[in-house]
């Protein structure tokens, strides 16, 4: 992966959830380049830090959702996006797949799932 840092960007509008993810990632020994609550914030942080992996929530504050952000990031940065969602609705799943997600995790995410998925995303880069 050209020019991407070995770090993770966490995007979730729930601060506590973002914190929990941060702990899980840190426990894996990976650096966090930032946490974002909105789509725009996520894109700008991604463009600034160029993380290898983005943990992306689908529902975000503001007009745009995680898929908008993920598409922009995929386009401009090229990070691997792992979607994390509480929803398993078919419509949501379909929306997610309009992008090219690396993986899809459902909340609550166990340590085991988080570790294996993020590790795989890092390795694939």
């Amino acid at each position: 992966m050209n020019g991407l840092s070995r770090s993770v960007l966490i995007v979730d509008d729930e601060v506590l959830i973002a914190l929990g993810f941060r702990i899980q990632i840190e426990d894996m020994g990976l650096p966090i380049c930032g946490t974002a609550a909105t789509s725009d914030q996520a894109v700008s942080l991604a463009q600034k830090h160029r993380p290898a992996v983005v943990l992306m929530d689908l529902r975000l504050k503001g007009d745009r959702d995680g898929v908008d952000a993920a598409m922009a990031i995929h386009e401009t940065v090229g990070s691997k996006v792992i979607f994390v969602t509480g929803s398993r609705e078919p419509a949501t799943i379909q929306r997610i797949h309009t992008d090219h997600p690396f993986a899809l995790l459902f909340k609550p995410v166990s340590d085991r799932e988080m570790e294996s998925t993020v590790a795989a995303a890092m390795a694939s880069g």
Binding site: I17, F21, I23, S87, R88, K107, S110, D111
Partner: protein, 683 residues
């Protein structure tokens, strides 16, 4: 036997003939008596020789005439009486003639003073006597209940004998009475007597035909006897013409026979007899050529008559056949008309015939009239359009015009009629026009009308009900969709909250240094994860209420194995597919979580082993959950409860109780926990 056409044609004339003959004979008898008793000068001068007859003859004629009239009209008993009297007198005189004794019947009522030279004054001649005997028997017998063919034949024979004896008497006078008497004593008969017998015999024959209309016919012996009589006369008289002409009645006899050619057969027979008579007694008194000419003229007259009779019969037969044909054709037509009328009138569908140009109804059946509330007669003369609901007239008229124009053969349309009470009624009309075969012009318009009112109303009601139902279904579907949306939202929020709880616990763990405390909180995370996983499964299910527990157990168990990281512990999950709801899945998931966590914590101090999770059907609709390890086990098996009093065991006991299950723990070779549960009811 089928009566001949002539019998049919003359049947109405027969009683008149009989009655006429009876009156004539009675009058003749009275005239004879008057002539005998009167002795008037004028009578002597003009009529004595004409009406000369013996008194007995006159009396018997009167009796015969009365008997004949009685047989026809009044009573057969009187006919029997009169006929019997005549026959008795006749029989008595025959006995006198044969034996020579006098029985006292010669001068029955009146002394015979006119025949002084007669050895037996008043006694009738043998022929006359025989004729009266025949006539008397015939009169007496004809109205008795004799119906056998020989009886009928005998009666007819008697009647014919009377005629024949009369003819013989007349023939004798043609040749001169002296000659006749010379020819045979028996041939003697006064001229009026012979005429009387001719008429009486004719009357008897007519009575026979009238009495036996279907069986009586001129039998073959009648012409044969006539031939014999005439031949005798012919031989006895040398005149030729006069005798031969007497064959003409024979030719007329053929009128009674079925085949018209019978006339020629009879003409042939008569011709043969005429020729036979010529050779039987060649005349000497007259020149042979005159004699031959006479015979030729006779035969010509016979054959001319035969041709006329033949042609008459031919025409009659042709006419009869034509009449028969017409009658049978009329019968067929009437039959067809009747069949049509019945099918038209009795049909259960409405049928209407109308004039194709004006549309006026010519004929309508009961079913159609009933449908509209009219009587069939009331509809005649009205047009179909008057009876049609105004909104439906125009479109049907266009159909009708197309049929009238020959564009289409027929049309079928569902339309409304107007009932007599003004209400509409739905009918399905099939209409066509019958055309004349010769020029194809419209002849009659024919319509068949079915009453579909009930059906139509039913269909309309059905459509309305269907529409209502569709509305309800849409409403319910919308409500269900809204419910689904709401449920997904709730599950989503539950999971988000669980994730928040997980994050909070995770942060808490960071703050702790004590390993036991950290372990306790990790256990808590596992339990929270189990709850989250249940909701995740529910969200992915079709009905948002139940899901298959097998993949759930697999995912749950695999996640728990994270705690065994760095150790060589294998896991196998064998679960039957089973649809479960939230109420069953959460306790079961927590149970598996606790049991696996326990095994991982306690069973494998040396870091190697295997854990098996099994969910299987057991008998009686129960299911068995077994979590077994091959670890060290507990010191001494405890059945029914967990050995240690920790949080995990409280949870296990509580959940088993909640699920109304039973718990069995063995720890002979590793720990085996078996939980028997009632299978969840299908949602």
């Amino acid at each position: 036997m089928r009566p001949s056409n002539l019998q049919i044609a003359w049947s109405h004339a027969l009683p008149h003939i009989v009655l006429g003959a009876a009156i004539f004979v009675v009058c003749l008898g009275f005239a004879m008596i008057a002539a005998r008793l009167g002795r008037a000068t004028w009578l002597d001068a003009y009529l004595t020789s004409v009406l000369y007859a013996k008194t007995n003859t006159a009396l018997l004629f009167i009796a015969c005439g009365l008997g004949l009239a009685a047989a026809l009209t009044i009573s057969r008993r009187f006919a029997l009486l009169a006929g019997g009297l005549v026959a008795a007198v006749g029989a008595a005189m025959i006995v006198e003639h044969l034996t020579g004794v006098s029985l006292g019947v010669d001068e029955l009522l009146v002394r015979d003073l006119r025949s002084p030279h007669n050895p037996y004054p008043g006694r009738m001649s043998p022929n006359t006597t025989l004729a009266f005997l025949c006539a008397g028997l015939c009169i007496a017998g004809i109205k008795q209940s004799w119906r056998k063919s020989w009886q009928i034949g005998a009666l007819e024979l008697l009647a014919f004998l009377v005629v024949a004896l009369g003819i013989e008497g007349m023939l004798a006078h043609v040749d001169g009475i002296e000659r006749a008497y010379r020819w045979s004593d028996y041939a003697r008969m006064a001229l009026p007597t012979s005429v009387g017998f001719l008429v009486l015999g004719t009357g008897l024959m007519a009575l026979g035909l009238q009495t036996f209309p279907c069986t009586a016919r001129i039998p073959l012996w009648a012409p044969a006897l006539l031939c014999f009589t005439v031949l005798m006369g012919d031989i006895a008289t040398p005149r030729g013409v006069a005798a031969g002409i007497a064959y003409i009645p024979l030719i007329f006899c053929s009128l009674w026979f079925t085949r018209p050619s019978t006339a020629f057969i009879f003409a042939g027979i008569a011709t043969g007899l005429t020729i036979l008579a010529f050779f039987a007694k060649v005349p000497t008194a007259i020149a042979a050529e005159i004699f031959i000419a006479n015979r030729v003229i006779t035969m010509g007259a016979l054959w001319f008559t035969a041709v006329l009779v033949y042609l008459r019969r031919k025409t009659e037969i042709a006419l009869t056949e034509a009449l028969d044909q017409r009658a049978s054709a009329q019968k067929d037509l009437a039959k067809r008309e009747e069949v049509f009328r019945v099918t038209f009138d009795a049909a259960t569908v409405g049928k209407v015939q109308s004039d194709p140009e004006t549309g006026r109804i010519i004929r309508a059946n009961r079913a159609f009239a009933d449908m509209l509330g009219y009587e069939p007669d009331e509809l005649v003369g009205r047009t179909g359009w008057e009876l049609t609901w105004p909104d439906d007239v125009d479109i049907e008229k266009s159909d009708y015009k197309r049929v009238l124009g020959g564009e289409i053969h027929a049309y079928v349309r569902e339309k409304r009629y107007i009932r007599k009470d003004g209400t509409p009624i739905w009918g399905r009309v099939s209409a066509t026009i019958a055309r004349l075969p010769e020029n194809g012009q419209p002849n009659i318009a024919v319509a068949v009308v079915e009453d579909i009112d009930e059906r139509y109303k039913f269909e309309v009601a059905l459509q309305a009900a269907k529409h209502d139902l569709e509305g309800v279904v849409v409403e319910r579907t919308t409500a269900l969709e809204q419910r689904d949306l709401l449920l997904r939202e709730v599950y989503h929020r539950v999971k988000n909250n669980l994730q928040i709880i997980d994050s909070l616990v995770l942060m808490q763990i960071r703050q702790l240094a004590d390993e036991d405390a950290k372990y306790a909180l990790q256990s808590l995370r596992s339990r929270v994860y189990a709850l989250g996983l249940v909701h995740q499964q529910l969200m992915g299910s079709d009905d948002l209420q139940t899901f298959n527990i097998a993949p759930f157990l697999e995912q749950l168990s695999n996640n728990l194995m994270r705690a065994s990281a760095g150790r060589n512990i294998s896991l196998s999950v064998q679960a039957i597919p089973l649809n479960v709801g939230l109420d069953f899945a959460i306790p079961l998931g927590l149970l598996v979580t606790e049991l696996i966590t326990n095994s991982l914590k306690h069973a494998f101090p040396n870091g190697t082993g295997a854990i098996e999770v099994t969910l299987a059907q057991s008998g009686a609709g129960n299911i068995d959950l077994v979590v077994a390890d091959n670890g060290k086990g507990y010191p001494g098996a405890v059945i029914g409860s967990c050995q240690r009093k920790g949080l995990g065991s409280s949870i296990i006991d509580g959940l088993v109780a909640q699920l109304e299950g039973t718990l069995l723990v063995e720890s002979a070779h590793g720990t085996r926990t078996e939980i028997c549960l009632a299978a969840p009811l299908r949602a």
